[in-house]
């Protein structure tokens, strides 16, 4: 177990074992200014305050893999997804797509980038133009990017719809209001696929869908990564679905990652007290199972005033003196399993500690 100063180093080690990252971010930050009005500027003392939605994140997603991003609402997971596909301009840090820097590209470069990096949103009802048929909606990105002539585009639209199990002869000419929620989300995925992107952010793609059809959409995400070789960032508040699709997972709290590693490893041996609390709070769909609950005091602090030292210390059941003074460095608790927590700097065997804490 080695101590690392820079969060960035923790990911370097994994790189040898996994294929080249399709998207990679280093020291990524996205801050939003608050009280920007004229009056606020006049009465304000000191520098303008900012919401630190992402506050120094290193992430890398390989092709042919699904990377899970889990956290509570307001932790910055959606902002991270949107910044990675450059819907937001990062405040600091760098983003690379297949090794090429895309942090501040604009104009034609940005349009080219958009073809290769796509996003699927939570709400399939709001993501489709109600006046376009499914066929038109799926064709639209091709037109925008000037890809192919009419016949070629038609072929690609049909291919794309077949990929997502929407039979073109039934769905090509239907409008969104004629589709069920699951079918709409499939149409959205088809529209994403038609550009043949390298990287897709799926931001809570199933949380608005009914339980009985969610599995179908998760299967599609798996198809995107395994069959088409895309890198997928799967953003979710629901850690229990992550296990079924994600190869790796990161847990986010208040704008930063607190733990990341192989999905099974993180779920079976959660190391960070926050991850442990998160896992302990998930109800189990088995009436005979018993669960040890962890009560977390208080609420998530505001991302405007982030606590000093460890960000989780205000709610942490294992808080120590050092936590308010020093921000914990990344530690490797098991091969490929990293955590930011002072608990793991002592000689305690982390795996055992994690097991006991559950």
């Amino acid at each position: 177990m080695t101590t690392r100063r820079e969060p960035g180093n923790s990911l370097d080690q994994d790189r040898a074992a996994t294929p080249a990252p399709v998207i990679e971010a280093k020291g990524l930050k996205k801050h939003f200014p608050v009280d920007t009005g004229v009056i606020a500027a006049l009465v304000r003392r000191g520098p303008p305050r900012t919401v630190k939605a992402i506050d120094g994140v290193d992430v890398s997603v390989s092709s042919r893999s699904i990377f899970g991003l889990v956290g509570e609402s307001g932790c910055g997971k959606s902002t991270l997804g949107m910044t990675l596909v450059r819907l937001y301009e990062p405040t600091a840090g760098r983003i690379f797509l297949s090794g090429e820097e895309v942090t501040h590209i604009h104009g034609d470069g940005l349009q080219q980038f958009r073809r290769r990096a796509q996003i699927i949103f939570q709400d399939p009802y709001g993501s489709l133009n109600p006046r376009l048929t499914v066929g038109e909606a799926v064709e639209e990105p091709l037109k925008i990017h000037g890809i192919g002539d009419r016949a070629e585009r038609a072929v690609r639209v049909v291919e794309s719809l077949e990929r997502v199990n929407l039979q073109p002869r039934h769905f090509l000419h239907r409008y969104p209001h004629e589709l069920s929620g699951g079918q709409r989300q499939r149409a959205v995925i088809a529209r994403t696929l038609v550009l043949k992107p390298d990287f897709v952010v799926a931001d809570e793609p199933i949380s608005m869908l009914d339980v009985s059809i969610r599995a179908g959409i998760l299967d599609l995400l798996e198809m995107l990564s395994k069959d088409l070789g895309l890198g997928v960032l799967y953003v979710s508040h629901d850690i229990s679905t992550v296990r079924y699709v994600c190869d790796r997972v990161a847990i986010m709290y208040l704008g930063v990652f607190v733990e990341h590693g192989e999905t099974d490893e993180v779920i079976d041996y959660p190391a960070h007290p926050y991850t442990q609390a998160l896992m302990a709070a998930v109800p189990i769909a088995d009436p005979t199972a018993t669960r040890r609950r962890v009560e977390l005091p208080g609420e998530v602090p505001t991302p405007i005033d982030i606590p000093s030292g460890c960000r989780f210390r205000t709610r942490c059941p294992c808080v120590m003196d050092i936590c308010s003074r020093v921000a914990p460095p990344w530690q490797e608790v098991n091969p490929g399993h990293h955590v930011v927590c002072h608990l793991y700097q002592s000689s305690v065997t982390p795996t055992r500690l994690a097991k006991e804490a559950r």
């Binding site: 609402s73 229990s240 998160l278 189990i284 088995d286 609420e299």
Partner: protein
């Protein structure tokens, strides 16, 4: 000063004593309840012939997907439906038919005998009044107590749901989502009703907050021994909290029984499918299996079993003849023609190929 404190303590204890006496679990019987909405294209059969019983002190879970009629059922019990809804059947609260109550009697029954914890706490609180005043208003609408006594009572309730009593002076926008939901729970409990219905009480909340709220509701259920109904789409919440479970599909109860029985040994193919589709954090790495297709239109529902189209085991009999709820064990019933072959169906339902055949049959694959 001392005298004042003593006086207020006496008042508080008198109030509490009065409340304790008024609390008794309520028995709810829903008998052949139908709720239809009139639309231009015909009647939507949102709740169609639903019967169940909540014994005093019981904790019933109602699980189903969106549009299956869960919320309409709750509104039907509370008589909160729009005027033009067609309602038929009986809802009896300790033998009194709620649907036949005069408005005065209904107003007395609501909140003191049965109360509702709604899904969107944001919309349940008035943004321009202090939270405390809203609770006080509810108390004084039913009981002849002073403002101070009612405020004191509200403070006790805040304590019970884990909110600091001084937050009573806040407005709803000063609360987080979890705190608002707690305030709604305090409001629902404040008159110590014998029946509490919680309609998706934690759906909009994060998992940690959800866990805290559910634990809180569970503790309150145990302490007050009120009867509870929890309505949700989340099987795992039901599995952890409810003694009995009703599974709803397309406006009907398709399976009903003790939670352990329903979830461990489901007897309706829909329940079996729902179990396959639901992620389990402690489960193995088996894949989740979706139920192909979507629920039928409630305007022109099929003649036979409503699940037949998506059911891997459906036969012509299912398509022609509507199955009724029949006993499959002690207190356990299911609405399926093939409950006699349930063991083999259960085995087949665990395989993905079984459900893939349905997708092929209805032309989705």
């Amino acid at each position: 000063m001392t005298e004042q404190t003593a006086g207020s303590t006496t008042r508080t204890s008198r109030l509490s004593e009065q409340l304790r006496q008024q609390t008794r679990p309520v028995e709810l019987t829903v008998d052949h309840l139908r709720v239809y909405y009139a639309t231009r294209s015909g009647y939507v059969r949102a709740v169609d012939d639903v019967s169940f019983e909540v014994r005093p002190g019981a904790y019933l879970g109602i699980v189903g997907e969106s549009g299956c009629g869960k919320t309409t059922l709750v509104k039907g019990i509370f008589r909160l439906l729009p005027e033009d809804a067609f309602v038929d059947g009986d809802v009896r609260l300790d033998g009194r038919n709620v649907l036949a109550m005069k408005s005065n009697e209904l107003r007395q029954a609501r909140w003191t005998r049965m109360s509702l914890i709604t899904q969107s706490a944001m919309n349940s609180l008035d943004p321009v009044y202090r939270v405390g005043d809203q609770i006080v208003e509810a108390i004084r609408a039913h009981w002849d107590v002073s403002y101070d006594d009612a405020w004191q009572r509200a403070a006790e309730m805040f304590d019970l749901v884990g909110l600091a009593p001084d937050r009573l002076r806040n407005y709803p926008h000063q609360f987080s989502g979890g705190m608002r939901q707690r305030a709604i729970i305090a409001l629902a409990l404040v008159l110590q009703p014998g029946l509490i219905i919680a309609d998706e009480p934690t759906t909009a909340l994060d998992v940690i907050t959800q866990d805290q709220i559910l634990a809180r509701i569970r503790r309150i259920h145990e302490a007050a021994s009120a009867s509870m109904i929890l309505v949700t789409h989340d099987i795992s919440v039901i599995a952890e909290t409810c003694n009995d479970t009703a599974v709803m599909y397309a406006g009907k109860i398709v399976e009903y029984g003790p939670t352990i029985g329903v979830l461990q040994e489901p007897c309706h193919p829909y329940t079996m499918g729902l179990k396959n589709a639901f992620p389990n954090i402690k489960g193995g790495i088996d894949k989740l299996i979706a139920i192909p297709g979507s629920p039928p239109s409630l305007i022109d529902p099929p003649q036979g079993c409503l699940f037949a189209e998506r059911c891997p085991f459906a036969s012509d009999r299912c398509r022609d003849l509507k199955p009724s709820l029949r006993h499959v064990g002690t207190d356990h019933s299911a609405a399926c023609h093939y409950t006699d072959q349930v063991a083999s169906l259960r085995e087949r339902a665990k395989k993905k190929s079984t459900w893939d055949e349905v997708a092929v049959r209805i032309g989705l694959a």
